[in-house]
């Protein structure tokens, strides 16, 4: 052990035992989020150098936060990763020391996992977390006694205020070695756990009877160990409070009203709090674009930066405030324990749609982004319910649709009030509702289509209510915004460059002739200089490679009121919805070659004319049709990729893509023809 350069330490524990808080306290900002090989299970690692003053030693530790589990009998892919790491000494994440994190107010249950780790022959340090909750109740644990009975070091901890962290660090310098031969227990675990695959039916075939027997055996060992170390157990204050609060939060009437109130408050905050910061970001990028345009020598590179990449990035980065607020609220709802209550009160209703109370978490998170939301559907153990949840989650109105909706609504809907409500606001709210209704309707269809004989369960713990930990909430928000910015940024820069090239160049011949045709003195005299320049720009776009692409798909989208320019935007935004805004910005600045940059995207869109009808392109009918198209169409490669990984085949992502595109086309067709 002394000679090892890096000691790897695995954190193992039940869900909600404060394991992540401890991990944050140990590693601070030195943590990295990744995935376990081959699966989308999140893996958090943090490398820290710890200096022990007393021992005069320095050592580098590599902490790994393993997925929370109640036992080493995994019921999900996440839990299976924990088992895999701990039972295979050749696994790259196999730890030198295991820190078993136990919720001190739920000791018996926490020890089940700890006893299994012990039988595996792993060197363990037992951390009794949330010890402060116990001290406020009449329960007390004799830690010295417990350590003696279990023959492992025991540390009292309150990770939230970092109590006990020092003691744990010190303990890591002097790990006890286990004398248990773990090979027998490893073999047992391997025989009673059938490996799980995505959407696998092996869950049904788990030898439950043997698992039940084994758990009862361990519990009887635990009970006799605890008899010596534990004094009479009573309700903790936090528990008493939670039970009292639940009288309101899970009340048949108040519970729903509170939930709706919270949702309403979140949406209100997203839009009102973000208004000013969004304006600032918008201003920043448009100034940056102007500055680049004026500073760099005129030419192709200048155009690419000032008309392609900068407006494209600006169109997306504007939405950072909204995304940050949304993810903050979702993190708070999860962290306080409220989300579990929502699952509980919604279970009966959602069951009618072939999904589960737990589906509400992916559905709500889907309002932020479908990718993490689809991954969170893993907590649903029934595979049919999980599949339906994965299928319908992208219909929830995600944050990438916001830029599209905002631009389109502002382009065609008047800024008027219906009574006390702003029409634009009402329209935006109803788009969220439409997404939810479409999701439930689709669930209902799938409920009848997918056949399954697997039983459905809803057994879960309602964790005690806790104050949100602002550090955790802030980190989650920072992490999500960073991912959004990096992903969207990369896609947008790539697509901007490609789109700009495609729209600036065309097949030689016709494309090259445009300049000569309209730049002739006779034509300029006839229509004026400004008009001639606009004509050149729009003819160039029309005959560019992008224009040819757009015109190729025009017949398919003409019934929806879209022209070839919108066609280009549909093609480019197939990678990600928000690219629509950047594409429009690129095309409309490329299309109108005016030197005055004062004209906004919205204004130049509204001036555009449909070449077929000769009328303005962005009428109410076209805009509503386009909005509905984006409400339902898949238009997100990241979602397709995550559905592929989560379901383990191309079957479901393809069905989902076809279904959503068809739904989008039909809805847009109906809307356009009704409003035309």
């Amino acid at each position: 052990m002394e000679t090892k350069e890096i000691i790897s330490v695995a954190l193992v524990g039940n869900p909600n035992c404060g394991k992540s808080t401890l991990f944050n306290a140990l590693t601070g900002l030195n943590q990295q989020t990744g995935n376990f090989p081959g699966v989308t299970v999140e893996k958090k690692i943090g490398k820290v150098r710890i200096h022990d003053q007393q021992l005069q030693r320095k050592q580098t530790f590599n902490f790994i936060d393993l997925p929370g589990t109640y036992s080493l009998f995994p019921k999900s892919l996440d839990e299976q990763e924990t088992l895999k790491v701990l039972t295979n000494a050749r696994n790259p994440d196999y730890p030198d020391i295991v820190v078993a994190v136990a919720d001190a107010s739920n000791l018996k249950r926490s020890l089940l996992l700890c006893f299994q780790l012990k039988e595996l022959g792993l060197p363990i340090v037992l951390v009794l977390n949330m010890i402060d909750l116990l001290q406020r109740s009449s329960l007390s644990i004799d830690c010295a006694k417990l350590s003696e009975v279990l023959q492992i070091p025991v540390i009292e901890m309150n990770a939230r205020d970092k109590k006990g962290i020092g003691a744990l660090k010190k303990q890591l310098f002097q790990p006890n070695t286990s004398h248990v031969d773990g090979s027998k227990y490893t073999a047992l675990l391997q025989s009673v756990n059938k490996p799980l695959l995505p959407l696998d039916k092996n869950l049904e075939k788990q030898p439950n009877y043997i698992q039940e027997k084994e758990m009862l055996r361990l519990y009887s060992l635990i009970e006799s160990a605890l008899k010596e170390a534990l004094i009479e157990e009573k309700k903790t204050q936090a528990l008493a409070w939670s039970i009292r609060l639940d009288n309101y939060f899970t009340h048949p009437v108040w519970g729903f009203l509170i939930f709706l109130g919270i949702l309403f408050f979140i949406f209100q905050s997203i839009f009102s709090w973000s208004e000013k910061p969004m304006e600032w970001i918008d201003l920043l990028f448009s100034n940056a674009g102007d500055w680049v345009n004026a500073t760099l020598p005129a030419g192709a590179f200048n155009d690419l930066l000032s008309q392609g990449i900068i407006p494209g990035l600006g169109g997306i980065f504007m939405f950072i405030p909204q995304i940050a607020i949304l993810f903050t609220f979702i993190a708070i709802l999860e962290d306080t324990g409220y989300m579990a209550r929502v699952s509980y009160i919604m279970d009966r209703m959602l069951r009618g749609f072939g999904i589960n109370g737990k589906s509400i978490i992916p559905l709500i998170s889907g309002v932020a982004c479908a990718v993490p939301a689809i991954m969170s559907a893993r907590t649903i153990k029934n595979q049919k319910e999980r599949l339906i949840t994965i299928f319908i989650t992208p219909l929830m109105s995600c944050s990438a649709r916001l830029p599209v909706y905002t631009l389109l609504i502002s382009a065609a809907v008047p800024d008027q009030n219906w009574g006390p409500f702003n029409i634009k606001g009402v329209l935006l709210m109803s788009l969220y509702l439409i997404g939810f209704i479409a999701a439930l309707g689709t669930a209902l269809i799938l409920k009848w289509v997918i056949k399954s004989r697997e039983k459905s369960y809803f057994i879960m713990e309602l964790p005690v209510y806790r104050k949100p930990q602002w550090g955790v909430v802030a980190f989650t928000m920072y992490d999500k915004v960073k991912i959004f910015v990096m992903n969207a940024g990369k896609i947008i820069i790539a697509i901007s460059v490609v789109l700009w090239l495609l729209s600036s160049y065309g097949p030689s011949g016709k494309f090259d002739g445009i300049e000569q045709k309209y730049n002739s003195t006779s034509y300029i005299e006839k229509v004026g200089k400004q008009q001639a320049e606009n004509k050149i720009a729009s003819e160039k776009l029309r005959n560019s490679y992008a224009g040819i692409m757009g015109r190729a798909i025009e017949p398919a989208i003409a019934p929806l009121g879209f022209d070839w320019k919108i066609g280009i935007a549909l093609v480019t935004s197939f990678a990600a919805r928000e690219v629509f805004v950047g594409t429009m910005a690129t095309m409309y600045s490329a299309g109108s070659n005016s030197d005055e940059n004062s004209i906004t995207l919205k204004e130049s869109m509204m001036k555009d004319v449909n070449e077929r009808t000769g009328k303005p392109l962005f009428t109410l009918a076209t805009v509503m049709s386009l909005i509905l198209f984006y409400a339902f169409a898949m238009q997100c490669m990241s979602t397709i990729a995550v559905v592929f990984r989560e379901t383990g085949s191309w079957k479901w992502p393809i069905i989902q893509l076809v279904y959503m595109t068809a739904l989008a086309w039909i809805a847009a067709f109906i809307a356009y023809n009704l409003l035309k």
Binding site: Y70, S71, F73, K75, S105, N106, K108, R109, L112, Q206, N208, Y209, Q211, E212, M215, L216, Y219, E233, K235, T236, L239, S242, I243, D246, N247, T250, P252, G255, F256, Y344, I345, D347, R348, M349, G357, K455, Y457, F458, I459, M460, E461, L462, P463, V464
Partner: protein, 74 residues
């Protein structure tokens, strides 16, 4: 001996055994084991699922699952 489903709101009983191994495994993991005391806290809208206080944890389950837990009155 009764089924858990027969428990009234706020009533407390002792868990005896489980009649379904698959459900038993899930409940055992959550610390719901024979000998533990169990109290009905509240029912969700439409009476399903039901939330219990089991050995210091708040655990919720559907009626169907509660039917496989055998209890005895305290």
């Amino acid at each position: 001996m009764r089924e858990l489903i027969e428990l009234a709101v706020k009533e407390t009983a002792i868990i005896l055994s489980f009649s379904d191994s698959e459900i038993a495994v899930k409940l055992l993991e959550l610390g719901c084991l024979p000998g533990a005391s169990i109290q009905l806290l509240h029912k969700a809208p439409m009476g399903d699922p039901i939330t219990y206080l089991i050995d210091g944890s708040i655990i919720t389950m559907r009626k169907k699952e509660a039917a496989s837990v055998l209890i005895e009155s305290k």
